[in-house]
Symmetry: C2
Subunit: 226 residues, 2 copies
């Protein structure tokens, strides 16, 4: 890694300040800057243990994948986010598989599993950080689970569309109905029906170009309401 | 706590051996033996932070509860299991609510949150244990999520019935269809229909007394099959 990369890495890792000089050097030596293209797979479920990911720029999507190709998005990682689940071989008891894709051109540092494992065992503050980050991802995943199990589909879809518009920084969402269904763990037909309903309500306009949000406030009320 | 209680607690806590004498005394002083009746609520979601639970005997059910009373069972705790989520106020980033009920007469030790928090911060092995246990619960919850999202209902119901028969140590399951639906995050009608189907297949017999499993092997094949 270049000096510039090491400096950047030191800004991205919340536990950097708690490392001693030897540990800092070890992390810098065993980290690598990688650039992924939009749509590229970074981490591929079972057996994959690429290392700890620190996002420098761009956006990653972390999701579960069923045997028959159904997807459920768990959370997204953006600038300064850290992913430990991509290094699950060094975390005891993590027995589920996740997949990580780049949603746009994304730069990440990847810290080798052996290095991370060693400093986590030596340094209590790294271990404490590990507990915090796993608890955070656990909470995010449980939030998704609550949405899917307990929340009515109109609310969930409204929240998804608003969130997506935010991420794409545009009022028009270019995902297909199939893709939206995938993100939400639902079926295409169900999503299309609900989009048609929103469209009839004048909340959005569905066309071949995508889904254009016409009335953000009304959509927001759907997402927040009881 | 009596000497006998302290001895029992030392057997239940995997990190006991890593504590120094002062820490051992502190844990023993700030732990309490409690007995819960079948059906009694131990921990009640939001705002509740009763402490770390160590199960001495019996069985606890940990579940999520929606605003409109829908339940999803996440995992069960039996002899020697530890629950940290009932002390979520001392874990950073845990933002979801869980509920804990006794499924039968259950004895637990409850360690005070302040004491647990202090020893976790002082003792790296307690912190490391914390990471392990949170990862374990995370994995268990994700397993439930995978079941619900990805697995077909017949398989899920078959697995649930076999597991329940195992827990009740009987071929007859005394839960109502409503209760089974609650455990599985499904609707009563859906469960009743599937039970009728299994019954027609000669796999089980549904009566007012409960659900009697007639053909364990056939039910097992449902649960395991592709």
């Amino acid at each position: 890694m270049t000096f510039k990369d090491t400096k950047k890495l030191s800004e991205l890792l919340p536990f950097w300040k708690s490392l001693n000089e030897a540990e800092k050097n070890e992390v810098a030596e065993h980290s690598e800057l990688k650039i992924y293209k939009k749509g590229e797979k970074i981490h591929n479920g079972s057996g994959d243990c690429i290392g700890v990911i620190a996002v420098k720029s761009g956006r990653l999507r972390v999701y579960m994948l069923s045997e028959d190709g159904k997807e459920v998005t768990l959370f997204r990682l953006v600038n300064k986010d850290i992913c430990l689940l991509s290094a699950s071989c060094v975390i005891n008891n993590i027995s589920f598989d996740i997949h990580v894709d780049a949603e746009c051109s994304t730069e990440v540092y990847i810290i080798s599993v052996a290095t991370y494992d060693r400093i986590a065992k030596e340094n209590p503050q790294v271990m404490s950080f590990m507990t915090d980050i796993i608890s955070l991802r656990f909470s995010e995943a449980m939030w998704v689970m609550e949405q899917i199990l307990f929340m009515k589909l109109d609310k969930r879809l409204a929240m998804f569309l608003l969130n997506q518009a935010n991420l794409e920084n545009s009022d028009t969402i270019t995902l297909t109905h199939e893709q939206i269904a995938g993100h939400m763990g639902s079926a295409r037909e169900v999503i299309s029906r609900m989009l048609k309903y929103f469209s009839n309500e004048g909340i959005l306009k569905v066309s071949r170009k995508g889904i254009k949000i016409l009335d953000k406030e009304k959509l927001g009320n759907r997402g927040d309401g009881p």
